[in-house]
Symmetry: C2
Subunit: 355 residues, 2 copies
Amino acid sequence: MVGASLKDVAMRAGVSVRTVSNVVNDFPQVAPETRRRVQQALEELQYRPNAAARLLRAGRSGLVGLVIPEIDSPYFGELASLLVQAAQQYGWTLLVDQTNGDPDRERLLLDGPPGQIVDGLVMSPWAVSPAELRRRADAVPLVLLGEQDAAGLIDHVSVDSVAAAAEATGHLIGLGRRRIAAIGVQPHLANGTAQQRITGYRQALRAAGIPHDPALEMPVTALHRADGARAMRELLEGGHAPDAVFCFSDQLALGALRAALDHGLAVPDDLAVCGFDDIEDGRYGTPSLTTVAPDKAGIAERALSCLADRLKRPPTGAGRRRDPEVPSGDAPPPARRIVAAHRLVVRESTVGRPG
Amino acid sequence: MVGASLKDVAMRAGVSVRTVSNVVNDFPQVAPETRRRVQQALEELQYRPNAAARLLRAGRSGLVGLVIPEIDSPYFGELASLLVQAAQQYGWTLLVDQTNGDPDRERLLLDGPPGQIVDGLVMSPWAVSPAELRRRADAVPLVLLGEQDAAGLIDHVSVDSVAAAAEATGHLIGLGRRRIAAIGVQPHLANGTAQQRITGYRQALRAAGIPHDPALEMPVTALHRADGARAMRELLEGGHAPDAVFCFSDQLALGALRAALDHGLAVPDDLAVCGFDDIEDGRYGTPSLTTVAPDKAGIAERALSCLADRLKRPPTGAGRRRDPEVPSGDAPPPARRIVAAHRLVVRESTVGRPG
DNA sequence: ATCGTTGCATGCAACGTTGCAATAGTCTTT
DNA sequence: AAAGACTATTGCAACGTTGCATGCAACGAT
């Protein structure tokens, strides 16, 4: 036996299928005695509504998807966890999927089973262009995370990466550092994160009158610890030893930190290190890591609030006419651009140990 | 417009709905000319098969679920990432959900939308008892991860935690340590992980003739860094200072490490630290962390291989009769218990820096 | 010329659910 | 007592898909 259906319950309770459905959905127009009988039958048969049929008929699954490049990156892991909890408050179940930054897979997830089954999607695009995302704007509601902008056509939540990078660089400058490297440049990536952070970095240098040295701007292929460590080794071995480094992610920073310590440098005395993301590892490492902390809980909350607004509109289920001749009276709400808060968290990797 | 259906395509191509379905599913019995015409219509209308309808009718969604207590724990993050990749090789899309160890949520995910929509589930149970999991054994195929055993009624993949813990403890003993603490005891948790690791720890002590000191077995409420740090501080302040510590997770170990360094201890000279899980943070920290490395890729691969075996059996869709009078001829394959490999990875936190 | 065979295309039904509209039954009102 | 108002319950249809059976040609073999 695979699971009782409304029909099975109806037969057992001696009522029609429709009445059982009314009980299940808590419609008021059911006599107490009938309700009781039906509920007992539901209980006895262990009825669970069939999610596929509900989705097909009503157009709503109660599921929301999160599409991120890497589940195992601490930043996305923490964000995913917060989104799961925020989704619960809306009565949704959040499901997470990983693209590994593969554009084909990003497309597949949007068009295929997960993208069709969920009521809404939160996505951190890596390689798929805004133009392509726009093309499917009238499918399931979508909220973008991250720096990539969809020309104001899709809801979008991010932090002000330019300002944040400038603050972080400014903090290093304020400590008296002058040879400040940047690790995390990714010139060939559509995703605008690295672009914005290098912009903020340069702005801060210019504002302080520090000449900008291209040899201190280190490219990486990914944002992992190994990439940060490699970039730091290149800096140290290339004779361009900096006195501070701003890394575009905490993972890069932790890798750079490790490489610097291996090289015999004292942190922060010889080298101040600042990251971006405020992941848990940075808080418990030795030395602990100064970083830019995006308001992750705020990002999660506001992304889902965008989805909630769009889901107030009727679903595309069986009832809804989808005749293009008669445009629906109320237009969809305009796309929002939300800028979440961030703050600089100063720890041992730039100011040394307190006490 | 929400998306073209088979009907729309059929009208445009001037054929029946059934023929379009035949083209979409690559059935051979279609004339080349017809196929061409239909394919063009498919292209023009950007047809995407409706996942909900397919699932309802055919009983297969192509989705597989992973249910874990915490997405943001590095161990589960790394495991999830490997499972996503392994699932791709089977042609499945893996979706991840998080329970936070809440038993109600574990049940909800199994019975509700995600559990019904996926073709199979991989789960790391935290609080739901084996008995309860057994109750639903004939629903969607399920594979359990972790130490909790379901009495051989459900497929199950784990490492030999007793042996692994004994090896780790044996390594510390082999370094000449005698006051070896254990951090991570969780007596009131159904989930058997902590039980097995403390068993292995005690076995190794006994085998070496070292008396077992209950004051060195530290309980924790969760497996996070903060818990490890707290336990270590208690050990150090309580006057029971150990010369080595075996932590039941790398996160605990990293917290303990940090607390020990804060306390002025030298690692590994004053205190050797060993963890469990081999998460990336441990590899790049300073000092790097000695740990038990479960074969995560092997766990992922074999969990999915179990699912694949069960999914060879016909789905419970429209075609399949589900008459309990006539039991299906072939019984389901018996539940498997798979023990994945592990190995001890020795790093700086127990043997100091090389060179 | 007739029969079976093969290749291609189609119609019907069903998966489990819910919106809509209609029915039967009860109670109030005049 | 009849008309109206309301309550409780039900039947029908449809969401988009696919399994099964059938239809309908055209073909070669007898």
